[in-house]
């Protein structure tokens, strides 16, 4: 019993030191996150009648194509190697998992005046929606998530750009 008490005491000490070090590291890390942000409340809708409404709207291929043709900003939420292999023309790379690298690079290129189309690999990936939520929290409100992603775009025979931007 005494040994178990000691184990619990030691475990609490390890957990406390881990939490302290973890939070300090997170606050200085370029990929650090605010653990108390309210991403859960970001409105996401698939209602196509809400064109122009603020929030995050999930769109299909046709609407993605129209939005891009009419000058919307396009964000590719995939990894750099996937982006280099092929992406939607004019897309800007913003790897969702490397916020620290891309945040400062990409955010100045975006504007609330224009729609922002975000996509990832395919319909089953949710990085585009997660990134759209991040962008919403950063103040961007005209966000369109192209759920079919690059697979649907290239599968439809639409133009593809290769290499780095």
């Amino acid at each position: 019993m005494k040994m178990l008490r000691n184990a619990i005491f030691q475990a609490m000490a390890i957990a406390a030191v881990s939490a302290a070090v973890g939070f300090v590291f997170n606050s200085y890390s370029r990929n650090g996150i605010n653990p108390f942000r309210g991403a859960v409340n970001v409105p996401v809708t698939a209602d196509t009648t809400q064109s122009g409404a603020e929030g995050i709207r999930v769109i299909e291929l046709d609407e993605a194509r129209r939005a891009i043709e009419s000058g919307a900003s396009v964000i590719d939420a995939r990894r750099k190697d996937e982006f280099d292999e092929g992406h939607i023309p004019g897309a800007i790379l913003f790897d969702y998992y490397d916020m620290g690298t891309y945040r400062d690079r990409v955010l100045p290129l975006l504007s609330n005046e224009k729609d922002i189309v975000v996509y990832c690999s395919e319909a089953t990936c949710d990085d585009s929606e997660l990134l759209a939520k991040e962008l919403y929290l950063l103040g961007f409100t005209k966000l369109l998530v192209f759920k079919g992603g690059f697979a649907e775009w290239s599968g439809a025979g639409l133009p593809v750009e290769r290499g780095e931007i």
Partner: protein
Amino acid sequence: MKMTWSQGARMPAGDRSGTHWIFNPYLLLAFRLLLAAIFIYAAVQKIGKPLAFADEIRNYGVVDYGPPLYIMAIVLPWIELLCGISLVTGVGVRGAALILVGLNAMFLAVIAKKTIGYMGDGTPFMKIYFDCGCGFGETYAWKKLLEDAVYLLVSLALLAAPRHRFAVSIRRRSS
């Protein structure tokens, strides 16, 4: 009369290591180094990537969005790292073992839950292949379940061991 820990027996101090082969001091040291290597490696893969790790946790469908998810993503890799360091250095071995018992039991439960979900979709058990988010990439579910069960047993052995060699004893000061 042979007595075991579970019976709450008080064995003579300094003579407990011979009670069972699993408490052989060199075997216990090997267990510590094995668990330390695994958990330090896993931690290093996740430290500094809280969003990616939060996404992995979210995929298990146990903790969704919000502070609990992000706090877990920030703190859990550091707990794994410090447990690994404790096991290597011998400082707070029993505490680290207690945490690893809890962590491995939790990992087993969530991976079992996910595996059952895949089986519900008609995938045969032996063919379920996924990224467990553990820092080791994609693997077969049965292999991961087996690994975690072994880690759980090894952690339990470290927790229950009467004595650890090459370790620093830290005790709470009793008033």
